[in-house]
Symmetry: C2
Subunit: 151 residues, 2 copies
């Protein structure tokens, strides 16, 4: 923690400030697609597969009641659908509509492009190292898969 002799930033400040940066880029990209950050995040999670409200609540770290509203708004935009499970009438599965799927793809693609540009000054080798180290931090801390990798 704290500055090093050579003026290098501490790992804590680096994490916080890069978070600030990614937040801004993410929000900006979402806005260009008519979404909020939270809505974009929801769509990205649903790209993998449909989930129930409880699962989404856990993955996104939100109270169930917060999720109801978020899904409501996104459903109202026609991007998502509540599907009921005939096996268990209590549960609901949130799935992307075709329109939502298209929008999610577009948002995901642009967001990836923008975020990929952030470390563009780094060498390919350094980017790999960064991905490795950050990836280990992420897995060590059991961060839910709120953003997937595609091949």
């Amino acid at each position: 923690m704290g500055k090093h002799d050579d003026g290098q930033i501490g790992v804590v400040a680096a994490l916080v400030r890069s978070t600030f940066l990614v937040n801004a880029v993410y929000a900006e990209s979402a806005q260009k697609h008519g979404l909020t950050s939270q809505q974009g995040q929801l769509l990205c999670v649903l790209m993998a597969q449909p989930y129930g409200m409880g699962e989404l609540s856990t993955m996104l770290g939100l109270a169930k009641s917060s999720l109801t509203g978020l899904v409501d708004r996104v459903e109202r935009s026609g991007l998502v659908r509540r599907e009921s499970d005939p096996q268990d009438l209590r549960t609901v599965r949130i799935a992307l509509t075709p329109q939502g799927s298209r929008l999610a793809e577009g948002f995901y693609e642009e967001t990836c492009r923008r975020i990929a540009q952030l470390p563009s000054e780094l060498s390919a080798r350094d980017r790999d190292t960064l991905a490795d180290l950050l990836g280990r931090v992420v897995t060590d801390n059991k961060v839910p898969v709120v953003f997937i990798d595609h091949d």
Copy 2:
């Protein structure tokens, strides 16, 4: 971008997911001090020195009208004060009150501690490397100093 052969995560996903992680830790730490993330961020910025509304607006990436409300709420809690500049009666300087300064110190200290724990599985050497690489990303992209390093 995309997964590597060895299952390593891509740099984009690593950035997004670590951002998600830091956001959560930051919010949790703020909450323990009776703050929201945004209020905590404001206090951290003001730890360095007082700023005008316009400067804060730029640094935090918010509209001026958004800042008015944020400062209002924090001022109402007695953490911050609007000081008027006799040289230019239009401008206002936002400064921490003694109470706000104490709270900011406590919040900052705990947040640093928590965030420092995130890469605790990494070797000291790897943490340094991570700090270096992320620090370069941050400076390359001209992220405002929303979180400082102390020695």
